[in-house]
Amino acid sequence: MKKFSFIMTILLISVFVLAACGGANNNAGENMDNHSNNDTSTDNTADNTADNTADDTADDTADMGPTEVRWFVGLGAGSDEGTFAPQEAFVEKFNASQDDIVLVLEIVDNDVAFDTLATQIAAGNAPDIVGPVGIRGRDSFKGAWLDLTAMIEASSYDLDAFDPGLVDFYHDAEEGLLGIPFAIFPSFVIYNADLFDEAGLPYPPAAYGESYVDADGVAHDWTIDTVRDLSMQLSVDVNGVDASQDGFDPENIVQFGWQNLWTDLRGTGTMWGAGSLVDSDGNAQMPEPWVEGMKWTYDAWWTDWFVPNGAYGGADFLQGPGGSFSSGNLAMIQMHMWYVAPWALGDVPFAWNLAASPSNDGVTTAKMHADTFQIPKGAAHPDEAFEVLTHMLSEEGAGELLLVYGGMPARLSMQDGYFATYTEANFPGSDINWDVVVASMAYADNPNHESYMPSFQETTDRYNEFWNLLANNPGLDVDAEFEILLADLQSIFDAAE
């Protein structure tokens, strides 16, 4: 009896271990039949729309009729509440227009989107089309995307309709063409006009190359230093004294002048110049402009007091649906086109407009986000997914979707007249300085601030920790902290072999 149970145990262990190792050899594309867990619901915790007709038809199992194409949203734009209903509407319209494909929407909160998608791919349950996804999303899943070249050639898809520079963006030397440009989100400065009025200061320049004429009529180049001077005047304490004046009380600041909002070390540093944390040999490096930018920001947090530091960042008076700027207590931010949308700026009780990005040492860098829709390698229905993709990129499809995500069309024919439609749909009656948005395209960052790094998530976490350390502790030796960061990044890169 003993011998038998001993053998049984060994057998069971081997079976399990084989399963563990054998699982490591399985083709990632193997499609496991998952009737029990195939979750195609369009609902999201915050979704109140009750209309699920698309969902109901999609739930017919073993349906030999229309092919179901799963659309995964959440890696980039599209997971904010204000975008749910319009995306649903798009899906319904598409489904009603043809009978071969049933498009099913899956919206996942951005915070968990990466983990969720990774889990789905690992389980052999990859969605058919993912997007909008930007560079960060694409690079987080390096190796997981389908090369579209074959399908493009087979359908004679016209790539010339897009800006060639942007098409190149999606071309990876090893992996082929992973996406077709859909939307671009240049960045620029957004300012709170009311706060400028209150201080009696003129607005920032509306076009690149213009200088900033201050309250005394003196013209300055629109550089980062000018931004600093201006922002200090716009950082005010509870007594109405601003940061450039004596008697400023840093413990009771009620309004700030500047912030590089909703970005990280790389995004902020890029305002001083584009770069990458990975050098040509794959080792960790810290670009000089980024060191400069970090020091400038550190001073702005703890000495000059015009950017909200860690302690102030969580303060109630800087909260709003669009972060600190929408609270009305922040004067200027550098931000992308996708922020100029109703969900962030729709209900704000102050006047705002767009201005040019500042330059550093004669060079202006306005970081760029570019989103598109991509097809995972493990997709169940790649051909149908490609069809949906072409629809999304078409003039009609993109026309609807761009209004939702707030992006500029990458399709050349759509670029004229786009902004008039956009203003009409989202901010009727306002006079927004769209020219600066188009002009900002010329200053896109190359390499992109979201480009690939080894162990992407872990590296991001590590440099975010560095950022938080500086944001919460005055009196640090920034250079020394950079040394520590670089050493850690190097060991992460080394372990990623």
Partner: protein
């Protein structure tokens, strides 16, 4: 003499009673103070939950729920402030029309036709005109936004099903440990207790991967199925209880030809209602509050979330709306509380059964 003694005795008794009473009051008072401090966060939660949105972004807002007075002037809303027209005057409520560093313009709500007039001074030093305005509808807003009925349904089903499985399997296994002589029984019992005591992280990854390949990730199965295979603590409780039941009835039944299973089902179980209830209640609440399991197995499937994970996701999505977060938390608290109020006696007794068994 006896009279005097009796009087002294009465005095001593009454003065003793007084010191007793004052001691009682003192210590009860201390307990009350501790209780109040202990429960302060609840008060905070409720008060914050009914604050207005605007309160958070405006500096100087009071700690009680309030909304700022506003004036509709020329089709725009302007905030009202308490402004002393001259130094030393009683401040009156005026609408701030145009802000300026040293000079601002105000409109008098009682004299709108006069239009805006100038006032010298620092507007930031002024208090806004706050009025008490609790937003009780925040609760219903949080309720709908978080889709609480869905979370509730999920949590309830999860708790009920797993409790059923847990109680059933714990009884079976506990009976086995309690009533039979089995080779290596002590070894197995020791192993079972160690699974309770030692960290379980080491089993997590392969189990997760197994469920991943089975396609069960994203469903309730990985969470429900294991409970039918019993859980150390519950088994222990049932075993203790069974061991305290005298064997006479068992033996009598066996002599009459009953097999052990019939003994289990017909004789032991009916006598074990208190322990079964205790185990059921404990497991119910354990499942109700379970966080890590649902977190990793249900990621990305929000329609299956229980309250714990749903609340976390809500916190991530709506971190800007402090009042809604607090409202949602308070809502999550209410149901366990209500159940507790009705069932508290069972709880406290249940713990005593488990805790005192030595």
């Amino acid at each position: 003499m006896a009279e005097a003694n009796k009087k002294k005795a009465v005095k001593r008794i009454t003065s003793k009673r007084l010191t007793d009473a004052s001691k009682k009051l003192l210590i009860t008072g201390m307990a009350l103070m501790v209780l109040i401090v202990f429960l302060i966060p609840m008060g905070y939660g409720i008060v914050t939950a009914v604050k207005t949105d605007g309160q958070f972004s405006k500096v100087g807002a009071p700690w009680w729920p309030a909304s700022e007075g506003q004036l509709l002037f020329e089709e725009k809303e302007y905030d009202m402030f308490l402004v002393p027209l001259e130094d030393g005057d009683i401040p009156i409520s005026l609408a701030l029309y145009k802000k300026g560093r040293t000079v601002s313009q105000f409109v008098d709500p009682n004299n709108i036709e006069a239009g805006p007039f100038e006032w010298e001074g620092n507007w930031r030093g002024l208090e806004r005109d706050w009025a008490y305005d609790p937003q009780w509808q925040n609760f219903s807003e949080a309720w709908e936004t978080i889709d609480f009925p869905l979370l509730l349904r999920n949590t309830f089903l999860y708790a009920v099903i797993t409790t059923f499985g847990a109680v059933l399997s714990a009884s079976l296994v506990g009976f086995g440990f309690a009533r039979f002589r089995i080779p290596f029984k002590n070894v197995m019992f020791l192993l079972m207790l160690s699974t309770v005591i030692l960290p379980n992280a080491v089993t997590l990854i392969p189990t997760y991967y197994l469920f991943l390949r089975l396609g069960w990730v994203g469903t309730w199965l990985p969470l429900v199925i294991p409970t039918f295979f019993s859980w150390g603590t519950n088994v222990f409780l049932m075993r203790q209880f069974f061991m305290s039941i005298p064997r006479e009835l068992d033996d009598a039944a066996m002599i009459d030809g009953a097999n052990p299973f019939q003994v289990f089902w017909k004789i032991i179980m009916p006598q074990s209602i208190p322990a079964l209830t205790a185990v059921a209640l404990f497991h119910f609440f354990y499942a109700w509050n379970d966080f890590f399991g649902p977190l990793i197995y249900l990621a990305g499937n929000p329609e299956k979330f229980p309250i714990t994970v749903g609340l976390t996701a809500f916190n991530n999505l709506y971190s800007q709306s402090t009042n809604l977060i607090q409202a949602a938390s308070i809502i999550s608290v209410i149901i366990p509380l209500i159940v507790f109020i009705f069932a508290q006696r069972f709880f406290m007794q249940g713990i005593v059964i488990t805790g005192v068994e030595k």
